[in-house]
Amino acid sequence: MLNIKNLHASVEGREILNGLNLQVNPGEVHAIMGPNGSGKSTLASVLAGREAYEVNDGEILYHGENLIELSPEERARKGIFLAFQYPIEIPGVSNANFLKTAVNEVRKSKDMDVLDSKDFLKLMKDKMQLVKMDKSMTQRSVNEGFSGGEKKRNEIFQMAMLEPELCVLDETDSGLDIDALRIVSDGINALRDGKRSFIVITHYQRLLDYIVPDFVHVLYKGKIVKSGPKELALELEEKGYDWIKEEVEI
């Protein structure tokens, strides 16, 4: 589904990713870990097509199509979803209105009929349960005045609404207390259906207790330097990153 080959990307002229390779098949969950500044969030931004990030070399194939050519909204409509590390506030625009616009844009791009208000409300009601979201949140302005936990929950709620094929979660666990972490993880797990794929970017093994990955990758200096099964995360938790750094430096 997703095939990243020798990806080099920079921001403000500084190369952050240099020669990253990653293959994600349908239904797989890949965890990306790594020390600060290794390029984890850059990878998320490049996948989503953020403007400031420039791809200098390599390719990203998504269902065989070159992703780099596509605008952020085209990528989104083709099923790539980024759960933001810091969700953005849009004052005066209700969550419901925002999502209705988004859902219908995605549907239009697939030649599906747009949802009317009734069907949309029904869909919202179903999906809200996934993240135990309170009804009042749909009428509040997008992320405005939300607590850290509510913002992250809202990201997962949006993900559920848009039904993407590839979900990129950028440090979704940051700023969550243990209860919120559980709710958010349960939501994500409920969306694992054997076809949908996930790239879970995180600092901590803690999240992976809830969202059990198929693969764990260590990103260091813009490259994946080690990959392994879920046990690799435990090893990292215990030993830190120094041993990997040493391996790489040698």
Binding site: A48, E51, E73, F84, I88, G92, V93, T101, E105, S109
Partner: protein
Amino acid sequence: MSEDLKIIDEVTSGEYKWGFVSNIESENAPKGLSEDIVRFISAKKKEPEWMLEFRLKAFRHWQKMQEPQWANVNYPKVDFQDIIYYSAPKPKKQLNSLDELDPEIKATFDKLGISLLEQKRLAGVAVDAVIDSVSVKTTFRQELSKLGIIFSSFSEAVQEHPELVKKYMGSVVPYTDNFYAALNSAVFSDGSFCYIPKGVRCPMELSTYFRINSAGTGQFERTLIIADEGAYVSYLEGCTAPKRDENQLHAAVVEIYAHTDAQVKYSTVQNWYPGDKDGRGGIFNFVTKRGLCAGERSKISWTQVETGSAVTWKYPSVILKGDYSTGEFYSVALTNNYQQVDTGTKMIHIGKHTRSTIISKGISGGRSNNSYRGLVRIGKQAEKARNFSQCDSLLLGDKCGAHTFPYLECANPTAKVEHEATTSKVGEDQIFYCNQRGISTEDAIGLIVNGYCKEVFNQLPMEFAVEAQKLLAVSLEGSVG
């Protein structure tokens, strides 16, 4: 220019949809302004002597006045001798029913989405349709008259209700008030008149739709709304004009008089032709709007959505004379390309316990300039008066300007006045966030701006709010660059 901004820029081709010219035969006064022209207009309208006197006094006063220079706008000097002051669609014959209305006029309003057919009314809106200098049709007059409500063109009111016109005209905006008010008082040709009797709640929205059609003309209409004790009315005003390369002058006067316990809500969607994207043409919109809360507990509320005109100069104001009276001003002013707006309000607190609220949202794109100018004056007697002002500016690009000029004069120590102001830019983060959910940049900006204006849109009557949102989306095209 970044990719997002380029996409937006490409949509600049978004045209002013209301810029057509209708082929309506019209009867014009000769160009220029003189006592003879004033007499000509008055004679055309078969006005009584007192009306002519009023006009002449205004004209003589105007001749002694200077064009104001203090507004934060730049435009070529208006040549007042190069304007046609009276232009009326030529009547084919006496109109008895709508079927006999000039089909071209009817077609014009159909094209503008304004139905002059009463059976096709939308959510109960009565319309007074004004083309150039005259009112061509007022709907629902009979139904309203059963409640004692007078809703007619100004000219008809002069003929049929001279006592009311005489009593109230100029009582809120005297002809000496300012340069354009004086000019209007001298040459105004038509407009709407509305009187709501004691204790009556007007059952439908009243609206006036202004259309400039003829070239080289100025439009000088006058609206007078009187709400008697305990009356209520919600009034809407809309306006459009054809696209022309020259500038056209629109100098209107609106007066609202609210008696004890009366409430008047006046909403405007101002969509005069703003000129093309290089700043050619467009309407000069120099308007005096003022309400007087004469009685206790009366309330006047202005809501305006300003997207049109090349240059706008307009301060809908409220004089809070009655104790416990309330004044409100809600405004969205959007400028794009080379548009210039200097708008705001004046809240003059005279009575005790008077309250006013000002919510102003300025949005600037392109190379436009958008200024808020507001005065809050608390008089000596205005015990415990209260004002809250909030003036926000949103910038859509880096070549536009937003300015705020608040004036505060407080002569009573028990008064409480609050002022808040913010300036922000539509963030790339916000746009990217929307993009990532599948929403295009253009739609994202529309969404963000509409969200920003929500407080004001909430004040508009339902169908008008929808209209305003759509209008905003069209006016936003090509705003970032």
